[in-house]
Structures are given as structure tokens and as C-alpha cells.
Symmetry: C2
Subunit: 148 residues, 2 copies
DNA sequence: TTCCTTATTGCAAGTATTTGCAATAAGGAA
DNA sequence: TTCCTTATTGCAAATACTTGCAATAAGGAA
């Protein structure tokens, strides 16, 4: 089964209606290897059909995220990016100073996942998480500043 | 030393100019026990002086966050909230289905913090983090749906 | 104190995202 | 197949946040 029909089937099970718009949006995100913004999904869908509206793209991407069928990340730029599940798993370390992105091993989250599950019954989305902080370079330069 | 002058001192060290606007914004966030949005900070500052502009509030709050002097969180609502450092530490578990917030023990993040530091030299902001996922209640109801 | 440099602000315009509502179209029932 | 219900869409307006630029004012030098 193609990744697209897996998604549409899941939605159908849940009682969502499968519209042309949703099919196009799903196709776009499922075929994109990388992070993609709502505006970019919109542009891609528009290449194939004029039947698309940016508000619908936002609503559909957020719905896919709510259903656990897509990732949604703030990477410190001024827009949210989305990705298909197969894009993960990895951690994005985002430097709040210089905005650099570092990819980290998602294994580091396994014990956290278990703890949140057993302690709070909470199933955390940790396959593609953003963690803000300060990168090694920025820390170094701020220490230098202190010495002066 | 009051929490406000600690912040302004830190900024002065770093070469930032201490303006009336910054003082008012710092005062507002430092005296707020809870999460507060930029719009709310703006309203509070406006009570005391007309010398304030929403763009400046956004710029200042983001600057405080960049400097590690304030927290900045997406709690699943349609606006970002800020908080003074003394508001933490805790984890906010945010249900992407029903938007419920659950507070979790920040201790769960200690091993992650260490690993990110030693492996990547990355100092993660984990004192007041939001983690998205599905709460126990929503998981239960989605399982019920499957059975039918 | 006065002056100068330049970081910071206000404003207005721009971009990103959300929302209310009437028109449309999935998909189940007949 | 046709019809009906109501979820979904498009549109336009609202809200949330960002940015370029000229005017202002910190704060260091004289
Ligand atoms: Mn990624
Ligand atoms: Mn909190
Ligand atoms: Zn950095
Ligand atoms: Zn929930």
C-alpha cells in the first residue's frame, strides 16, 4: 500500500471525508523528503490543480498533525514546517542565538518517552522534536565576552 | 537584588542599552507568576506609560529569550507565551487532540540534558519545555473508536 | 555637562496563520 | 442512481507576529 493510501485509509476509518484537496495535500507531504511549509505545500498542490486554497492547506496539515499522521515543527524560523512521519526520527537542536540546527540521536529520548507514558499515560510525539538551547559555538563566544 | 535589576544588570553587561521600554517590559514579566502573551505584556505596560509599542514588546521578549532570561512556549494555543525564569522548572505535556495541559516532573529530563551537553556541546533549555502528544483520555477514546 | 555614535524605538506595511460563514460536495441511506 | 445530511471548502476579514526605515535617545568620550 502506498504511503498516501495508508493515510487516506486512516482518515476514512476516523470518519473524515476524502476530498480532492486532502488527497493532493497528502500526496505532496508524503512525497516530500524534507520539511515543508504550508505555503510550499500550497504552491506544489497548485501546480497540479487550481482547486486549492491556503486556508484549506493549513487546516489539513494541522488535522494530519492532530491525527498523528504528520510532524509539525518550529525550527526557529518565522514559519512552522511540516513533514511526513517517514521523515523522522531525529531530534532538532535549535540554537536560540544563531539559529543553527544540529541533528541529534533520537535514542536520547527513549527513557523520557517511557517515563511520560508510565507516569502520566501521555504518549509523547518524540520522533521529530525541536529542542531550543545554545550551541557550542555560541556558548564559547559568550564566555569569551565575559572574560573581557 | 530584585529580580528586575538582576535582569537589567545582565543586559548591561552584554552591552544592551537599558531603555524605559525595556525596564517596563522586564518589570511586567518578572512580576507575573504565570505565562503571559506579548499582547498582555503590552497591555500591562500601557497601564503605566503610553511609551510602548507592540513591536517593541515582541522584540524585547524575544531578546530576553535569546539571552536566556525568559522562557518562550508554544502551548498549542494560537499565541506564544512568555514567562520569567522563576516560573519554572516544569514540563508542559500538551495534548494535540484536546489541548489539555499536564504538568510533569522536570526531573525526567536530566539524563537528556546531560547527553545533549556531552554529545553535542548543546545547552538545552529544558526548565520549561512543551512536549506535544496525546493525553490518556484522548488515547482511550480513540481506542474505543477502533473497537466499533 | 555637552556632544556624538549608534542601538533602539515607533510606525506602517508586510508576512504568517486563524476564523466565521455561506456555498459546495463527500458519502451514506433510500 | 438520486437525494439528503453535514463535513469541508473558499473567501474575506481578523489576528499574530515580523521587518524596513527614519526619528529618537542611551551611554561613552571629551
Ligand atoms: Mn527533521
Ligand atoms: Mn509553565
Ligand atoms: Zn548558536
Ligand atoms: Zn487529550
Amino acid at each position: 500500500m502506498s504511503p498516501c493510501s495508508t493515510l487516506t485509509e486512516h482518515l476514512r476509518q476516523k470518519g473524515y471525508r476524502i476530498t480532492l484537496q486532502r488527497e493532493m495535500i497528502i500526496q505532496t507531504i508524503a512525497h516530500s523528503e524534507q520539511h515543508i511549509s504550508a505555503e510550499e505545500v500550497f504552491a506544489e498542490v497548485r501546480k497540479h490543480t487550481p482547486a486549492a486554497n491556503l486556508a484549506t492547506v493549513y487546516r489539513t496539515l494541522d488535522m494530519l498533525w492532530e491525527e498523528g499522521l504528520a510532524c509539525r515543527n518550529d525550527l526557529g524560523e518565522c514559519r512552522i514546517v511540516y513533514a511526513a512521519l517517514q521523515h523522522g526520527p531525529h531530534i532538532h537542536l535549535v540554537c536560540r542565538y544563531c539559529n543553527r540546527l544540529i541533528d541529534a540521536d533520537p535514542q536520547a529520548l527513549e527513557s523520557l518517552r517511557e517515563e511520560l507514558d508510565t507516569e502520566y499515560g501521555f504518549t509523547a510525539d518524540l520522533q521529530h522534536i525541536s529542542i531550543f538551547g545554545v550551541c557550542a559555538g555560541c556558548q564559547l563566544s559568550s564566555e569569551k565576552l565575559k572574560e573581557e
